[in-house]
């Protein structure tokens, strides 16, 4: 299944004018000694004027706490916050804005599921099925839940993993066997690998998981920002994503879950706003989604995320995806031509706009440092995916990643920078 058919329709490859997009991002207008070639959008994306202005406008015109004040600016702030939720809901095809829970980021969204759903659902003898290519954010919450870690006591919950093939794809031939005993209660899978860029067939995984009686959580941190994602079409029960990778601010993330599951779940964090009634003897919970939004939320950031969703919608997610694909098709063969470069992950047609690689004889940190001195910003290390690097047999990698403002010249600067790195390290 190709990425573009996630929504069931194959869109024509209509790309975008990346130069015009780039002009709307202040970070690229900032005067510098040398141009910034920002190739680390998988870590965090840059932010357009529209997002920064929306947040400024909130603080400057209607800064007030939401859901409480009855005065004018509090009403305006509440309307702006809830309007952002409606836009996010529409952006990912949620059945209702009530299914959109604002969190701090994807990590917190997954922790919410682990604590509020997992702790009350999983018992000793149950199993959780994850994959070897998960980001630590979809590994560690489950390790904590299962009691697998320093200072924790084993809760008898088994952790299983779908292995990764040499080509950097999930080995789905193992799935029937991993699910066969019916003990798996949750399957957690990353939609797009933040290292390999692999787009995983989550629809098929969800189908098999559901048939085996398991719920499905999709870490959509690298997919929602880059191509059309319809949470209902995915067939998942929980979907987590984060604002700062989709042109929005840090500090705001989203958990989408099917309404009946959220209704049945106990709260995660306790405090203000998430309650309907508090007595000294106990509390009753607020309705969805506020049951899961304790304390004053990141109001400006939610509004910023709403603006980011508008911005992305105006570009068209099909166009964003087509642009990523064009850059991938431009970059992969050029990088492969650099002597000593090994590309990790599948071919362009199976991946999102992420390219991890190693350069023979040069540690990825050194690659990134030499590139940095030429204005090329790439990530180096294990990218919060230590088990994946172990499975691939490399201690670390360097990674270049794109978004709508990325240009072919930036790929050129990367390629030239790698040739130069080889020279610096040659003896």
């Amino acid at each position: 299944m190709s990425v573009a058919t996630v929504r069931g329709t194959l869109a024509p490859p209509r790309s975008l004018d990346a130069r015009a997009v780039r002009a709307q991002f202040p970070i690229f207008r900032e005067p510098r000694d040398r141009p910034l070639h920002y190739l680390d959008s998988a870590a965090t994306s840059q932010k357009p004027d529209a997002v920064l202005q929306a947040m400024d406008r909130y603080y400057a015109t209607c800064n007030a706490n939401i859901h409480r004040g009855v005065y004018q600016i509090a009403e305006q702030a509440t309307a702006a916050y809830e309007d952002a939720r409606r836009r996010v809901a529409a952006f990912v095809g949620a059945g209702s804005p009530r299914e959109i829970v604002f969190t701090r980021n994807s990590t917190e969204a997954i922790n919410l599921v682990a604590y509020a759903w997992g702790r009350h659902t999983l018992k000793s003898g149950d199993a959780i099925l994850l994959t070897e290519m998960e980001h630590h954010s979809n590994l560690v919450p489950w390790h904590i839940l299962a009691g697998a870690g320093e200072g924790l006591s084993d809760h008898g919950i088994e952790l299983r993993y779908i292995p990764v093939t040499k080509q950097g794809e999930l080995d789905l031939s193992t799935l029937p066997k991993l699910l066969a005993d019916g003990r798996v209660k949750l399957v957690g899978v990353v939609h797009v690998s933040n290292v390999l860029g692999t787009v995983n067939p989550v629809v098929e995984i969800a189908r098999q998981a559901h048939a085996a009686g398991a719920k499905v959580l999709v870490d959509a941190s690298q997919s929602v920002p880059h191509f059309p994602v319809d949470v209902k079409a995915l067939g998942a029960d929980f979907v987590a994503f984060t604002g700062h990778k989709m042109l929005g601010p840090t500090g705001i993330g989203v958990l989408w879950a099917r309404r009946e599951i959220l209704e049945a779940m106990p709260p995660f964090l306790g405090g203000g706003e998430m309650i309907r009634e508090v007595k000294l003897t106990g509390s009753k919970w607020n309705e969805l989604p506020w049951k899961f939004e304790a304390g004053t939320m990141a109001i400006a950031e939610a509004i910023g995320l709403g603006a980011a969703v508008d911005y992305l919608s105006a570009l068209g997610m099909d166009a964003v995806f087509a642009h990523d694909r064009e850059l991938l098709e431009y970059a992969l063969p050029r990088l492969a031509e650099v002597p000593g470069v090994t590309l990790l992950g599948p071919p362009a047609e199976k991946r999102g706009g992420v390219i991890a690689f190693t350069l023979e004889g040069v540690h990825p940190h050194d690659v990134a440092t030499v590139l940095d001195h030429r204005g090329v910003a790439v990530r180096a290390g294990h990218h919060c995916a230590m088990p994946l690097h172990e499975a691939l047999g490399v201690p670390a990698s360097a990674r270049a990643s794109f978004h709508a403002y990325s240009l072919p010249e930036e790929v050129d600067a990367l390629v030239e920078g790698l040739h130069h790195t080889r020279k610096v390290f040659a003896r």
Partner: protein, 134 residues
């Protein structure tokens, strides 16, 4: 090649590609291993102590050029020095040996060797320069 690249080559790559004191000791008085989880740098240092001096020191491990070169430079410097002298080596001394400017992330690579030395020989587990922040 820029001035920075040349500096990087001379000071760091020389030690990275031709490390001094690399290896392990057969019957060390002290062996200590540490790492930098952020980068995956790993370092082991073996020491022989005689008459209050570092008689012999070897390092082994894997990591970026900065972590490995700083281990090589540090070992070369401390062999034969008294424990009192070695204890005084500071974070700034290491940065001076390396001779390049580093941001906070790469700083940890540079200081891994000194951290390993201080934890192994003196039982000081903190990152050099952060001892007072407790």
């Amino acid at each position: 090649m820029s001035e920075w690249d040349e500096l990087y080559r001379e000071n760091i790559l020389d030690h990275y590609q031709h490390p001094r004191n690399q290896g392990v000791l057969e019957h060390p008085d002290i062996t200590y291993e540490d790492g930098n989880p952020l980068c995956g740098d790993k370092l082991r240092m073996d020491f022989k102590i005689k008459d209050g001096k570092i008689d012999e020191v070897r390092f082994s491990g894997s990591g970026c050029s900065i972590s490995q070169a700083s281990a090589s430079m540090l070992c070369e410097r401390i062999e034969g020095q008294s424990l009192d002298e070695v204890k005084k080596i500071s974070r700034d001394d290491v940065l001076e040996m390396l001779g390049i400017q580093l941001g906070p992330v790469r700083l940890k690579c540079a200081l891994l060797a000194l951290k390993t030395l201080k934890a192994g020989v003196y039982g000081i587990p903190q990152w050099p320069g952060e001892e007072d922040e407790k």
